[in-house]
């Protein structure tokens, strides 16, 4: 056990995966000597050599496209996209190729690869260093989408994602990178994909969040508790495939739910969660579902704290939902 922040835990996950399996390769911009702009891969080029840690030219098409080829050949590439905002030049390769390869070869060829990318706001990054595009990938059959909120889960989920036989988009909450520390085993371990975690159990309202917003949801739940409202907080951890059972049982118990995410509200993942839970727990619902999300604007700079669904916006949503 070592006390690690999120960056260190992810690095540890990468290192252990590379030690275990010579086929694990890293690709990305500035991930070599510099160790990535967030230093996640620091020291890995030194340990594993420049032929396993590829400091690539500036092309997300090239990174993701060649990673697909490597995966088809049996390697396990883990790409880093420097910011989620810059994933779009590789979008075609992800949604038309990686996601569909297994299907279009009836399972004979497939693409076991991971694309890691820091996402979300809160670091004064404005519209191009703050985006949360998870919904685009959840809408794409064939991709898995993971988003850890803490160092322990991050390492375990990442190692599991690397072992997974399907392409996984791994969103890292950059606001949490250095803000949270916790004990993390030094050895390899797995946190299975597809399992959400009830981080606070409560009886009156279910609050679903992931990544950096989990902390806001949690803090809002504590505040609400002070005002007599008992909130259950669920950290999704894997966004897709979703742990539907955990969510439905919680909402069946509470009859009320609030979804929190950073991405713009419209067609965000929150809308899918509202739809699924409304469809499946309709007769249990005692209040309209509520989404507390980023606004439907590009991500701003100066007012990012008013854009993000921080606790000050979650608390009233929880109270109103509970008292509806």
């Amino acid at each position: 056990m070592t006390s690690m922040n999120l960056v260190q835990a992810i690095r540890s996950g990468l290192r252990e995966a590379m030690r275990q399996d010579d086929d694990v390769m890293l690709l990305g911009e500035d991930i070599g000597k510099l160790g990535g702009v967030f230093r996640v891969t620091q020291g890995l080029e030194e340990e594993f050599g420049a032929d396993r840690v590829l400091d690539t030219p500036l092309s997300e098409t090239g990174i993701i496209g060649t990673a697909i080829g490597m995966a088809l050949h049996g390697l396990r590439p883990v790409s880093e996209i420097q910011f989620a905002d810059f994933i779009y030049p590789g979008f075609d390769q992800l949604v038309n190729e990686a996601a569909k390869y297994r299907y279009r070869t009836a399972g004979e060829l497939h693409v076991p690869m991971v694309v890691r990318t820091p996402y979300g706001g809160g670091i004064r990054g404005g519209q191009y260093h703050s985006q949360s595009p998870e919904a685009l990938f959840i809408h794409t059959p064939g991709l898995k989408v993971v988003c850890p909120s803490n160092p322990y889960d991050a390492k375990g989920l990442l190692m599991e994602a690397i072992r997974d036989e399907d392409p996984v988009i791994f969103f890292e909450p950059k606001r949490v990178y250095r803000a949270v520390k916790m004990d993390v085993p030094d050895e390899p371990y797995a946190v299975p994909l597809g399992q959400a975690k009830v981080v606070r159990s409560g009886a009156q309202v279910t609050c679903v969040a992931w990544g950096a917003m989990l902390y806001e949801a949690f803090s809002a739940a504590e505040t609400a508790a002070g005002q007599g409202v008992d909130v259950e907080v669920i950290d999704l951890r894997t966004l897709w495939p979703l742990d539907i059972d955990t969510l439905v049982s919680s909402v069946e118990k509470t009859g009320r739910f609030v979804i929190v995410h950073e991405a713009p509200r419209t067609c965000g993942f929150g809308s899918e969660l509202v739809a699924l839970l409304t469809e499946r727990a309709f007769l249990h619902l005692e209040a309209p579902p509520v989404r507390v999300t980023g606004w439907d604007t590009p991500f701003p700079l100066t007012h990012e704290r008013e854009y993000l669904p921080l606790a000050h916006r979650i608390v009233p949503a929880l109270l109103e939902t509970a008292r509806y």
């Binding site: 090239g62 496209g65 088809l72 390697l75 390769q93 299907y103 070869t105 399972g107």
Partner: protein, 360 residues
């Protein structure tokens, strides 16, 4: 480069010295591909298959390149190279089943006709988006190199694909990482209707190599010997650690872009006629006939044999039932998650579509 002259003689200074048996096999493969193409086009016109994208006129470029690659080298196709797959021994029946999307289709009726693959024959899966396969080829080559395998990758694409994002990324990565890959650019004169001269301002696509530091050359793609020789040289370079090579195979698409196309809308018959005279089959035939290894009678026999082979495959394909409905839901992930299990049950237990879709 130009070796096989129209009169059937070879340029002795360039002759790569293929045996006459090899040349006859190449010719036979080219004819077989042509016969299959012809038949599929007719089937499409009869409404028996939905679509076909053929290679009429490009057989030398495709099969010559496939022949120059070694059997264990990967081929990464665009969508017009089934001749290369058949050259490698892919069963014709499997291909025709694929064209029908029936239960024998290796992709289980999930892709359009002419979008097949074979892991066994080291032939990657066709996808429609132009250019996307090029970085895959580079990634595979990088993997082979990292693993120290004596293996290279030949990737086919068209003149149009040189404008794609993927081409640019792939050429650059290949050169930076010195990947053992061959860029096999079938310049067949058109990207659907757009002539290659309007695709790019450079007269030869091989000039694009210079931007990346990828050695590049242009050869007569209707001359199977020139194709073979240049590709084999690329294989040598790749396997000796000299990195990628770009080969422009200058050829011509004698047919439409696909059975959905009407080429008369954008090009004249005279142009097509001119190119018919440069038909790669005719040229190679002149050579093997000149060497007394082929004759009019053998030609007729071979064509007849190919035709009856295709006819039988088609018959069997038409008797084979459609791919199973349940197949719609498998292979999205390694293991089907809850939502796909649920949707599969809803679909299989739900009402079946009958008759036509609804339009007012």
């Amino acid at each position: 480069m130009h070796i096989n002259r129209a009169d059937g003689t070879l340029d002795p200074s360039l002759d790569p010295g293929l045996s006459i048996d090899q040349l006859v096999s190449l010719y036979k493969a080219m004819v077989r591909t042509r016969v299959v193409d012809d038949r599929l086009e007719r089937l499409q016109r009869q409404g028996r298959i939905a679509f076909h994208v053929g290679s009429m006129g490009e057989e030398a470029a495709i099969i010559g390149a496939a022949a120059a690659l070694r059997d264990h080298d990967w081929i990464v196709p665009c969508y017009r190279e089934v001749g290369a797959l058949l050259w490698r021994g892919y069963p014709l029946q499997r291909y025709i089943d694929h064209m029908y999307g029936n239960a024998g289709d290796p992709v289980r009726g999930r892709q359009m006709p002419d979008h097949t693959f074979s892991r066994e024959h080291r032939y990657l899966a066709v996808s429609a988006p132009i250019g996307t396969q090029i970085p895959h080829a580079v990634g595979m080559a990088m993997a082979a190199k990292k693993r120290g395998l004596d293996e290279c990758v030949g990737v086919f694409f068209g003149d149009g694909a040189t404008s794609s994002n993927d081409f640019h990324a792939a050429m650059n990565f290949a050169a930076v990482y010195q990947a053992p890959v061959l860029f096999l650019c079938r310049n067949n004169g058109y990207a659907i209707s757009l002539p290659a001269e309007r695709q790019t301002a450079v007269p030869r696509l091989s000039e694009k190599g210079a931007a990346y530091g990828v050695p590049a050359l242009r050869v007569d793609g209707n001359d199977v010997l020139a194709v073979w020789k240049s590709v084999r040289e690329g294989v040598r370079r790749a396997t000796e650690g000299d990195g990628p090579t770009f080969v422009e195979l200058a050829t011509y698409r004698l047919g439409g872009h696909s059975t959905s196309d009407d080429p008369r809308a954008y090009r004249g018959d005279d142009e097509v006629e001119r190119w018919r005279k440069a038909d790669p089959l005719r040229r190679l035939r002149a050579h093997i006939e000149r060497r007394d290894a082929w004759s009019e009678a053998m030609d007729a026999d071979w064509r007849a044999a190919c035709e009856s082979e295709v006819r039988e495959c088609v018959q069997r394909a038409e008797e084979t039932p459609a791919a199973e409905l349940g197949d719609l839901f498998t292979d999205v992930y390694a293991e089907p998650p809850w939502h796909l299990r649920e949707q599969r049950a809803q679909c299989l237990d739900g009402p079946r579509a009958e008759g036509e879709e609804h339009e007012p």
